[in-house]
C-alpha cells in the first residue's frame, strides 16, 4: 500500500468576461483591481492581466450580429445568463469584449484566481470572473 503525504486536488477553471470602452491596457486593469502601478503586489495583477490577454478572444461588439446569441460571437456555450445580458447591453453601446478561461493547471496565479470569485467594474471596464467552466 502507498500513502500519499501531500494533498490531492482536482484541477479547475473559471471563465472570465471583460467589457471595455478601449483596448485592454495594463494600467487600466490595475486601476480596476485597485492597485497602484508601484505597489509591491502589482506584479500579481500584472501576471493576471497577461494571462487574461493571452487567453481571451476579442470581439468588437459594434460589429456583431445582434440578432444572434452572444454565445455565437465567441463560439462558446459557456456564457451564463448574466454574461449574456451584460454582453447584449454592451453591444448596444458599441464596446469591446474579451472572453476566455483561466486554468489551475497553468500557473499558481491562475490557480488562485480560479478558486476566487470576483466581479469588479469602474467607468472604463467590467471584469466578471464568477463563472465556473469545468
Amino acid at each position: 500500500m502507498k500513502i500519499r503525504a501531500g494533498f490531492v486536488t482536482n484541477s479547475s477553471s473559471t471563465s472570465f468576461l471583460i467589457i471595455s470602452r478601449d483596448e485592454l491596457e495594463e494600467g487600466a486593469f490595475l486601476e480596476l483591481m485597485g492597485v497602484a502601478p508601484d505597489s509591491p503586489i502589482a506584479d500579481l495583477f500584472r501576471e493576471l492581466f497577461s494571462d487574461v490577454v493571452g487567453k481571451s478572444q476579442r470581439v468588437d461588439l459594434s460589429r456583431v450580429d445582434s440578432r444572434v446569441s452572444p454565445e455565437t460571437w465567441f463560439k462558446t456555450d459557456r456564457l451564463s445568463a448574466t454574461m449574456i445580458a451584460r454582453l447584449r447591453k454592451a453591444a448596444g453601446q458599441g464596446l469591446t469584449a474579451y472572453f476566455g478561461s483561466l486554468s489551475s493547471d497553468d500557473t499558481p496565479v491562475q490557480t488562485f484566481f480560479c478558486t476566487d470569485a470576483l466581479e469588479v467594474e469602474n467607468e472604463r471596464m467590467y471584469f466578471n470572473c464568477l463563472e465556473c467552466a469545468w
Binding site: L44, V109, T111
Partner: protein, 136 residues
C-alpha cells in the same frame, strides 16, 4: 523577518512572520494596507485585508503560544519549536536567535496558491517588511 518552512518534500510552503515592532493587529493591518498601495474597497484591498487576517489573526503566534501554554512543558523556546512545531534545525536556530527582537512569531500556513517557492517569500517580504529596516 519572514522565513519559509517546507515541512515535507510534497508539502506546501509555510512561513513564520516575525514583526519586530510591538504593533497592535489593527496597526499592522493599517501599515500593510498602506504599504500595498491599494484603493479602499477594491478587490486588491480585500485581498490584502484577507491576507493580513490570515497571518496576524488566524495564524498561531508561536512566541505567545509558548509563553502562555508550553513554558513549563518545554525547557526552552527552541525545544518547543523543535519538538512541538517540528521545525528543521536551521529554522529553529534562526527563530531562537530572533525571538527577543520579535513582538510575535506567526506561523502562517497560506491557502493562497501564488504564495509558493521564492516568489511567495519575496511577495510577503515586499508587502510586510520595511525595506529601510531589515527584519521589520
Amino acid at each position: 523577518m519572514i522565513i519559509s518552512v517546507r515541512p515535507g518534500q510534497h508539502d506546501r510552503d509555510e512561513y513564520v512572520v516575525c514583526p519586530c515592532a510591538p504593533l497592535s493587529v489593527a496597526k499592522l493591518r493599517a501599515r500593510m494596507l498602506q504599504r500595498a498601495k491599494v484603493t479602499e474597497g477594491s478587490y486588491a484591498y480585500k485581498l490584502v485585508d484577507d491576507l493580513h487576517a490570515a497571518i496576524f489573526v488566524r495564524s498561531l503566534d508561536l512566541k505567545a503560544d509558548y509563553s502562555a501554554y508550553f513554558v513549563c512543558e518545554y525547557e526552552s523556546f527552541g525545544q518547543y519549536l523543535r519538538r512541538r512545531a517540528r521545525f528543521p534545525s536551521a529554522v529553529v536556530a534562526t527563530l531562537t536567535e530572533a525571538v527577543d527582537e520579535s513582538s510575535g512569531m506567526y506561523h502562517f500556513r497560506p491557502a493562497y496558491t501564488f504564495l509558493v517557492d521564492t516568489y511567495g517569500l519575496e511577495f510577503l517580504r515586499r508587502l510586510l517588511e520595511d525595506p529601510s529596516v531589515r527584519g521589520a
